[in-house]
Amino acid sequence: MMMKRFLERPRGTRDFALSEMQHRAAIERALQKEFGQWGYQPIETPMLEYAATFAKGLHEGEEERMYRLFDAAGQTLALRPEMTTPVARLAATVLSEEPLPLRLCYSAKTYREQGPLAHEAAEVTQVGVELLGDDSADADAEMIAMMVGGLARLGLSEFRIALGHVGYVSAMLDQVGRKARELLVGALMERDLVTYERTVRGISSESESDLCSALLELPHIRGGREALQRARVLSQSGDNAARMACDDMFDVWQALCEHGVERYVQFDLGLYPNHDYYTGVVMEGYVDRLGQRICYGGRYDHLLAKFGRPLPATGCVLHLERLQDAVEVSAPTRDLIALSYEPACRADALGFARELRSRGYQVATTLYLADEDSAKGLKGAPEELGGSGTQGRYPAAPVAPRGVSRSAMIWDRSGPTLQGDALLAEMFAQFQDRRPMPC
């Protein structure tokens, strides 16, 4: 069978329309409002960047999944696969003179060719924040508290933000040989604790049994303050970096308690995201209604240096399409006045509509032809346009769009009929007072 390709969307993309679009826009607005209240300013960057820009930020596996194209000069361009790298470029160039810290937010479509996981979308809308130029634990805590605030604002209550620390895990793993370390990092990234455990047992020797039991315990540590106390105990075997990372985590935890969001947060020391640029506290958020993570982010203190402006930074993104699946749809309403009119009443109907719009109302006007007589009002219209019924070019009856909450108004030869609230009636009365009705 012939495939009607022109009717289809590329795999991994979605359309949004009508009530779904309203839902989507409402979520986006709520998040932007939350970010705005924390002092974040919106930015926008091009959907196309030079592939070389992303080579600074992404690891090989991610680069492979970029959509690439060429410009006329033969330069390789890429559809942005994420926003952190463009934000870093922006901060190092356009915003290089701005006072620090920079608080930036965005809502942007990102593109990745689908991997082996078929359910991954090729087009993802990332709604995110980046805080540049502040390396304090308070900045990390701000990210997390803001995510909690955003998710709560969307009406979600059953969610949890998992926190890890790339610096802590790195320092702990630095105690084993290079090859074993690589295996362990790979296993943590893939959340494969079986391979992780087997690798740790493989490096076991008598002298290292303390280290091995510490590494075996590490990815199983989850919880609040008590988890951090375990992390500190384990870090005794590690170097100073591990102990500093512990202090860092305690600071973040303390700040989270002071933000009053600690009940939404738990440490998971095995958390090790599959991204090269993270350096410190990392996070992933989960909602009970959705199997996959809904937001993620963390500290990336080395990325901006690659763009010539060494700055500590942290950031987080939410996945808008997943939020659409997780957030309850509030009954979609449109504050719309649907105004249908016959040709003879057009001047009045359009005049009233104009007045309503100037007062900020949404008005959709539609001409209809009730019968042959009605068509006579269409001056200058060719004969065949007249006539009623579905065959005609115009509807034969007043039209009311679906989901209209406010009011409808029908204006026929006998005059206007209001099917709306008192406010509309009053405005109409005022309109009439100013301009006596001819019909």
Binding site: P116, F159, R160, V194, R201, G202, Q266, D288, G291, Q292
Partner: protein, 225 residues
């Protein structure tokens, strides 16, 4: 509520022997029942889904089940995004390359299998180009009728192979049952999952003695090394 996905088929028996020892007891005779959702005998907050083995990763990845028990062979092919928590050291099988005796593995070109990723990896690290013929059952038939030069398949006893005149040419690793968890559930239902995972860990370690690592090498290591 903790939802546990169990594989129908080969592994079910050993799974069912193990679960009650850690306090997870399906309320019905799972093997004979036609029901797909089964309650726990004692815990109102636990239930079991009976799922085709190849579907377990999808049920867990999408969060329809919080945890699942599934063979590493299936996990490896599925490449699902989930937590692999524990090797249960049960349902142990070998992943092998089999064919007629005397087949030269270095000149093999066509490989019939249910496990294309294992096959691609096994021959890939040997820089050998192969054509994979994806077959879903009775894989042993393929070399007999000239469809392929060899097969990559799971072997428990080796009886099917020998009755069809085939022999094991090489091993690609050992398979065992794994406990997997959904990413959301791992964070939101941490206590329940830890309880199951710790219980199973104690039971399997008591069962198979101390760290008997050679028993269950992963496919990956087997295939790569």
């Amino acid at each position: 509520m903790l939802t546990v996905a169990l594989c129908k088929g080969r592994m079910l028996q050993s799974t069912l022997a193990l679960l009650p020892t850690v306090g997870f007891t399906p309320a019905e005779d799972v093997i004979d029942s036609r029901k797909l959702i089964i309650e726990d005998a004692a815990r109102p907050d636990v239930r079991y889904l009976l799922v085709k083995p190849v579907d377990v990763p999808a049920f867990v990845e999408h969060g329809a089940a919080d945890v699942g028990l599934v063979g590493k062979d299936i996990l490896y092919e599925a490449e699902a995004d989930l937590h692999e928590l524990l090797d249960l050291r049960s349902g142990v099988c070998r992943m092998v390359i089999a064919g007629f005796a005397g087949t030269n593995l270095r000149t093999v070109r066509r490989v019939a299998t249910k496990y294309p990723r294992v096959a691609r990896e096994f021959f890939g690290v040997r820089s050998q180009q192969i054509e994979i013929i994806d077959i879903s059952g009775s894989v042993e038939l393929a070399p007999l009728v000239g469809l392929s030069d060899c097969i990559v398949d799971l072997v428990e006893t080796g009886r099917t192979l020998s009755e069809n005149g085939l022999v094991i040419l090489a091993e690609a690793g050992t398979i065992s049952t794994r406990l997997v968890a959904n990413r959301r559930s791992y964070q939101l239902k941490a206590a329940a999952i830890d309880e199951l995972s710790d219980g199973l860990r104690r039971a399997t370690e008591a069962d198979s003695g101390a760290h008997d690592d050679t028993a269950t090498g992963t496919v990956r290591q087997g295939a790569v090394s």
